[in-house]
């Protein structure tokens, strides 16, 4: 029967969804702490160290503070859209977690439970679709604010996403030509069997990385919220938890794009130099998750490291880099990859 409802399946997925959403929220929370701590360390400061040992309760205090702040909705804003903006930013940020394979199958209660909410066969396309929806949150919020600076920030965010999504997509096409699949789980399985994709696609990875910075609105591409030109950019008019949602969604986006990069290019939950099939399934799932998180933390550190090194790009520099350097490079990368694949298919005969 096609519509038979498997109760255990639903419960299993619900639990997984709750865990993934909670985990990404907690990780985003602690990413703010990490951000401040890393910024401090890179600048010879101490960073937050008052709330709890080493300041580890700082994100809780920050969250509480945001909740207690006064909620201001400007008089001239369109109120529905004003609230919709941050909600959408948050929603799309969390939605991306649905197709990411967090680990291999685990065996509990006589069931094989996949550590992936949905193994969609167009997984990476889903991620792309949702991530580019994320900019709607910014655009709607900035439009609804009825504020020049917000609008400029929103416009910048939109044009930035358009410019960089192209290069990102093209760099990804080269990768997809090699893997021949759009399913993230399938890609990880391939990398577990062979080599990590970073060895096949170093240039593609670099382009993807740069575009990921732009997609996450992170420095050096944080023109949408350029404090010193646009006050706060798209979130100038926002306060309290709505502002918190915007800031939070940025960190979740950063986390998710780190996971995506780790999955696409660094083998996901693959532990290097280890054949997972030889060991106990549950333990391997756990260690795989740890391996994935280690990779993700490295990427998040990279995000922050870059943020505290490079100043913001000027708007024309941003556009130049996107359209005149990254897109040609990505096209070149795609052509070379295609040519090599063709050559390989004809057994290296010209």
């Amino acid at each position: 029967m096609l519509l038979a409802i498997d109760l255990a399946f639903i419960i299993e997925k619900l639990v997984l969804i709750v865990i993934v959403v909670m985990a990404s929220l907690v990780i985003a929370m602690y990413a703010t702490y990490g951000e401040r701590k890393i910024a401090a360390i890179l600048q010879d400061r101490r960073g937050p160290n008052r709330a709890g040992p080493f300041g580890i309760l700082q994100p809780v205090a920050d969250g509480l503070k945001l909740f207690f702040k006064e909620e201001i909705i400007p008089d001239f804003s369109s109120k529905f859209l004003f609230i919709l903006g941050p909600s959408m930013a948050m929603l799309t940020a969390i939605m991306t977690g649905a197709v990411i394979p967090w680990g291999n199958k685990i065996h509990f209660f006589n069931r094989d439970i996949s550590l992936q909410i949905a193994d969609v066969n167009v997984g990476i396309l889903y991620v792309f679709a949702v991530v580019s929806m994320g900019v709607y949150g910014i655009m709607i919020g900035s439009w609804a604010s009825n504020n020049k600076y917000s609008l400029m920030g929103g416009l910048r965010a939109a044009s930035q996403i358009i410019s960089y999504e192209l290069a990102m997509g093209i760099s990804l096409i080269a990768l997809l030509m090699i893997t021949g699949t759009l399913s993230l789980k399938e890609m990880v399985a391939q990398q577990q069997a062979g080599y990590w994709n970073i060895f096949y696609q170093p240039l593609g990875f670099l382009i993807f990385l740069i575009c990921a910075f732009a997609e996450c609105n992170r420095t050096p591409f944080d023109l949408a919220e350029a404090e010193n030109e646009l006050i706060g950019g798209y979130h100038t008019e926002y306060s309290s938890m709505k502002l918190g949602f915007y800031l939070f969604s940025e960190y979740i986006n950063m986390f998710v794009s780190s996971v995506i990069m780790a999955t696409l290019f660094f083998g996901g939950y693959d532990i290097p130099f280890l054949n997972e099939a030889n060991y106990d399934q549950n333990w391997m799932a756990l260690f795989g998750l740890i391996a994935l998180m280690t990779k993700v933390i490295c990427f998040i550190f990279l995000f922050m490291w870059v943020r505290w090194t490079i100043p913001r790009f000027r708007y024309d520099q941003l556009m130049n880099l996107g359209w005149r350097i990254l897109i040609p490079l990505a096209l070149f990368n795609m052509l070379v990859t295609g040519a090599l694949i063709l050559l390989k298919q004809s057994n290296w005969h010209f």
Binding site: I41, L42, W305, V306, T309, N320, I325
Partner: protein
Amino acid sequence: MQALTNRLKEVDRRKMNFLERLYLISIFKGMMITFSHIFKKKPTIDYPEKTRPFSPVFRGLHILNRDEAGRENCTACGLCAVACPAEAITMEAAERQANEENLYREEKYAAKYEINMLRCIFCGLCEEACPKDAIYLSETVPPADYQRKQFIYKKEELLIPHPIENFEAYKKALGNRVKKETDNFKI
């Protein structure tokens, strides 16, 4: 024009080539610089837990000194108030009663002694003017407060702890600025 230092650097206005326009090399260089700062020693002092030692000439809050038996030194002569350029000190004198020899060292004492810490400029002239070794500027910073009247320090706030009853606190309040030592009482 003659250069003032030999650190003059010509601005390179050549057009950037492709590699430079990618910014990758310079970004990598910059990232190495920031990375090296991870291992640098941080100059920060964790303030409330650790304090930086004051310099020996630091002039902080005033203390009214006592002698070795715990009697107040001040005789309310008013020389400190005269010396004070900010006119922050006011006092009222009183005569010592017969049963008060253990409280005040001489026949006259300050019944009221007030320093307005908002007026005080911490110059230390009162300390120099005092013939009786009675007022010192200690090594503490005046604390913040919410009300102006809280900054007018009364005798109770200024008096040093009793040297016999509470010797530790006395020594701490005395600090290093009190140089004069009597023969029978070493600090």
